[in-house]
């Protein structure tokens, strides 16, 4: 199972990639693997603001529907509509295809997320490594 260095991870299997004030949010390779073929993705509108942990969208596969949770607080600046059009992008490369971009509200929140090594240990424990 692929885990990229330099990203931040949540226990709900989202990743966060920080580039200055902006951050990108997606789901991990482990998550797409667990979900199986993704059938639907529902993303928020640009301009919507969410607190850390809040549900910002929904991802649905042939097996299950899951909430998408914000790794940190922020305002949506971009929704990657391509993933809504073709959800199989997530199955092909979950790290290459982010879901939304946000402006960070509180950079300090990033410290609460996991780094790659910690996340790798978590998914090993959940039976995914």
């Amino acid at each position: 199972m692929n885990v990229l260095e330099g990203l931040y991870y949540t226990t709900e299997h989202e990743w966060l990639k920080v580039e200055g004030e902006t951050a990108y949010v997606g789901i991990t390779d482990f998550a797409q693997h667990a979900l199986g073929d993704v059938a639907y993705i529902e993303l928020p509108e640009v301009g919507e603001t969410f607190a850390a942990g809040e549900v910002f969208g929904v991802i649905e596969s042939v097996k299950a529907a899951s909430d998408l949770c914000m790794p940190v607080s922020g305002t949506v600046t971009e929704r990657n509509a391509a993933t809504e059009e073709d959800p199989s992008l997530i199955n092909r490369d979950a790290f290459e295809n982010h879901l939304i971009a946000i402006t960070l509200q509180d950079a300090g929140e990033i410290d609460r997320l996991m780094d790659a090594a910690t996340y790798r240990a978590l998914i090993a424990e959940e039976g995914g490594a």
Binding site: A34, G36, D37, A39, Y40, E60, V62, K63, A64, P87, S88, G127
Partner: protein, 487 residues
């Protein structure tokens, strides 16, 4: 059989054929027709299929023969309790004195029906240890919603308006969080402990003065009995919350343990699971709810009470959350459940649960070498494998399920509960013989062997069905929901 009849009836239709010749119109044009605005009248004849009578009969006969039901074979669909439904229940429900009843009959002319409802309430209360039942909810999930409305009314009645949260374990049935959300609650999910049961620490952390209650099945969705249930009940009640019992797994414990004694405040029963009423087909269903003594006033009304001069509908004392269904619930379903309980008797129901548990453990022990068993302990009426123990790693749970269709079985529940990634959830029920169970073990063993020796036969399964492996992703993304006439 001619595969032509596999097609839609529209696809075997042709304009050269005619199944019925309508006589010429021999009445005058009604003035009512002139009253209909012209734009609402159709100008073209409707597109109806043109087939002969034998073709229509063969088409529908062919369809009916594709149906797979428990009357046709073994159906170990976990969590669904696909037991055989005795035909006497159908005979009794079809008696004209039941089937022909009009719901607006005066009460003194429907005493038998009222007696049946009263006694069913009593029997369900005795089986579950609850104080009283309402028979109105039309299905299990409807019962859940009704039960949660009672939670709400109870807290509101005490002037406690801040209880907005319903806690569910991550192994719960999907309807639990869905019903809670539908009832206007916020859903808090807690992770299960390593042994698959409720994690008491996680529960303690989730409980506070905003907790309206906890929803639980016992045995849980992994088929494991929640041995800490009394402690759980203490914790939830200590925090001021209520305890909801999802009756989906009641078939495991009849005559052995009662939700009411465990401390549950509200329970729904799925009559089609435990009490042998018809499954699926779009209903009608029945999901009666029972409540503890302190909640009886909130039950949907009317219920039935027994007076010295007969049975009467009882509107309650004004505390009721109101009706949740027209009339008195799906009465015909209640008749079947009543008949089932009466024909089984107390000892029969106890025996049913015992054999359901025995059958599940027999299958689990017979197959656990070949299939991965994540929670290896005595199970109740069902258990969950986590895919194959060996064989080609490319072979997935889905392949096992599809191959079982070739071998003449309805597959078990797959990929549920979600906490077991490759879940195969097997529930044989009490109505299967040892010979049937052994045949099924044979089929599962054959599939495990094929996973090592001939995995291609699994990835291409099913081979013997009218439609081969369906594209589930395409079906979810671009479903074709109706036949469209060609222009």
């Amino acid at each position: 059989m001619n595969t032509n009849y596999d097609k839609l009836i529209f696809e075997i239709s042709s304009d050269e054929k005619q199944g019925y010749a309508l006589p010429p119109l021999d009445v005058g044009r009604s003035s009512d027709v002139d009253a209909i605005p012209a734009h609402l009248l159709r100008s073209d004849a409707p597109v109806l299929p043109q087939v002969s009578e034998p073709e229509a009969v063969r088409h529908f006969t062919c369809l009916s023969q594709k149906n797979y039901g428990v009357d046709g074979g073994f159906y170990p669909l976990g969590s669904c309790t696909m037991k055989y439904n005795p035909k006497i229940d159908e005979d009794v429900a079809a008696l004209p004195a039941f089937a022909g009843l009009h719901p607006y009959l005066p009460q003194n002319a429907a005493q038998g029906a009222l007696q049946l409802m009263y006694e069913l309430d009593q029997m369900l209360s005795e089986i579950t240890g609850m104080a009283k039942f309402s028979l109105q909810p039309a299905a299990g999930a409807h019962g859940e919603l009704t039960g949660l409305m009672i939670f709400k009314a109870y807290h509101a009645g005490r002037g406690d308006e801040k209880r907005k949260k319903i806690i569910v374990p991550d192994s719960s049935h999907g309807t639990n969080p869905a019903s809670a959300a539908e009832a206007g609650f916020e859903v808090v999910q807690i992770a299960s402990a390593a042994d698959g049961t409720v994690d008491l620490d996680a529960l303690a952390a989730a409980l506070d003065d905003t907790t309206a209650g906890l929803m639980l099945t016992n045995p849980n969705t992994l088929g494991l009995f929640e041995t800490n249930i009394l402690r759980i009940s203490e914790m939830v009640h200590g925090a001021g919350g209520l305890l909801y019992y999802d009756g989906a797994n009641m078939n495991a414990i009849m005559g052995a343990a009662r939700p009411g004694d465990m401390g549950f405040d509200v329970i729904h029963l799925n009559m089609h699971k435990t009490f042998a009423t018809p499954h699926g087909g779009g209903g009608p269903g029945a999901g009666p709810i029972g409540v503890a003594r302190k909640l009886v006033g909130f039950l949907p009304r009317p219920t039935v009470r027994k007076d010295p001069d007969g049975y009467r509908l009882d509107a309650g004392d004004g505390q009721s959350i109101g009706r949740v269904k027209g009339f008195y619930g799906n009465f015909g379903v209640l008749v079947r459940a009543y008949c089932y309980i009466k024909t089984m008797g107390a000892e029969g129901l106890r025996e049913a649960s015992r054999v359901a548990v025995l059958n599940a453990n027999y299958l689990k022990e017979s197959l656990k070498g070949q299939y991965k068993l994540p929670y290896d302990r005595v199970c109740m009426h069902e258990f969950v494998f986590d895919g194959l123990a060996g064989g080609d790693p490319q072979v997935r749970t889905l392949d096992v399920a599809k191959r079982l269709i070739d071998l003449g079985y309805h597959p078990p529940t797959t990929y549920f509960p979600l906490i077991v990634p490759n879940a195969l959830m097997i529930e044989p029920t009490e109505t299967e013989s040892l010979a049937t169970l052994d045949d099924f073990v044979g089929a599962m063993t054959r599939i495990a062997d094929e996973a090592s020796g001939d995995p291609a036969v699994l990835s291409a399964a099913p081979h013997n069905t009218p439609v081969r492996r369906v594209d589930e992703l395409k079906a979810a993304r671009t479903p074709v929901l109706k036949w469209q006439a060609k222009e």
